[in-house]
Symmetry: C2
Subunit: 189 residues, 2 copies
């Protein structure tokens, strides 16, 4: 394993154990068995390192969206969307601690915001991608054309993001599968 991968692994582990506030570059470098100077050779900033953890170590939303896009007009639309919802919930569950930590750290948030703006990226992008897919299913006659696809996408993703956060604070009733099916049921009825 290369140094870069070792650093990303160590960062993920440190975030899990100590929270993002406690995942200092010093600690991460120590755990990865390299110097802080070497860490900064691979990642210009703490933000860049955390973004790499988000993008490279989380079960990605991108592939799940690609699969959903390929299934437009194919198979059972409810089943397709339920499987996607379960994946989105899993993604947000792992991403919640990083997203929360960035939000709770104003200088880190400023750096993140700038980096996302420069990349034309951000956490709203998957919502827009899902809205596009819902519109395609509407054109295929499989979802009520009266549904506002943008709002529906915001609600599906929002429900997942919220549940991923809630699960940290309280024990939730319902298993994730049952829950995902109920969410999709409000859109496809």
């Amino acid at each position: 394993m290369g140094t870069r991968d070792r650093i990303i692994d160590a960062a993920e582990q440190a975030i899990h154990e100590f929270g993002i506030a406690g995942a200092t570059t010093r600690r991460v470098a120590g755990q990865a068995g390299c110097s802080e100077a070497l860490l900064y050779k691979h990642f210009a900033s703490k933000e860049e390192l955390f973004l790499a953890v988000l993008l490279e170590r989380m079960p990605a939303l991108g592939p799940a969206l690609s699969r959903l896009r390929l299934s437009v007009g194919e198979g059972d639309v409810s089943a397709n969307l339920t499987a996607f919802t379960a994946m989105a919930l899993e993604f947000y569950t792992r991403a919640a601690a990083i997203a929360g930590g960035v939000l709770a750290d104003p200088p880190l948030l400023t750096g993140f915001r700038k980096m996302l703006a420069e990349a034309g990226s951000g956490p709203h992008v998957p919502i827009e991608a899902l809205a596009e897919i819902l519109r395609a299913e509407q054109r295929a006659g499989r979802i009520d054309p009266a549904v506002d696809a943008g709002a529906a996408a915001a609600m599906l993703m929002g429900a997942c993001f919220h549940r991923a956060n809630l699960a940290n604070f309280v024990d939730l009733p319902d298993d994730d599968e049952t829950w995902a099916a109920a969410i999709v049921g409000t859109l496809v009825r």
Copy 2:
């Protein structure tokens, strides 16, 4: 203003300025013009102080839910829900930094979780309250009875919570009012 209120104000200000990680009891006490010992006389722990900020200084969800409950069967159901959605968005916007900070700090999260469990409370409670109201509107014949009220409530609240978080990372299109109306439109159609 009493010492307790001065401490809560100082904590809210410190969270806003320095993030929850930087809102140390030392800094909060200093800003409130009291000793850390006096702070701990009013709040047994940092968790208890942050919970007080959440419950006593945020535009509360509770009153908004009470108003919505009183309006069941009265006026325009879409307008009632849209006004509530805007309030929920405002609440989560102010609560996001605290919720995120707690999530990013494992020991703080453990304390919070224990405190919520003992109080039988938690961030899922408003979702259940909204679901009850939606069921009452279904019985009043104003919302499609085929909608799963629990899932619909999770989606409405989740969309608000997610948007409150997103807004910290990117500039969102659409004003909040337009957005809230579109969200409600997917449930009342």
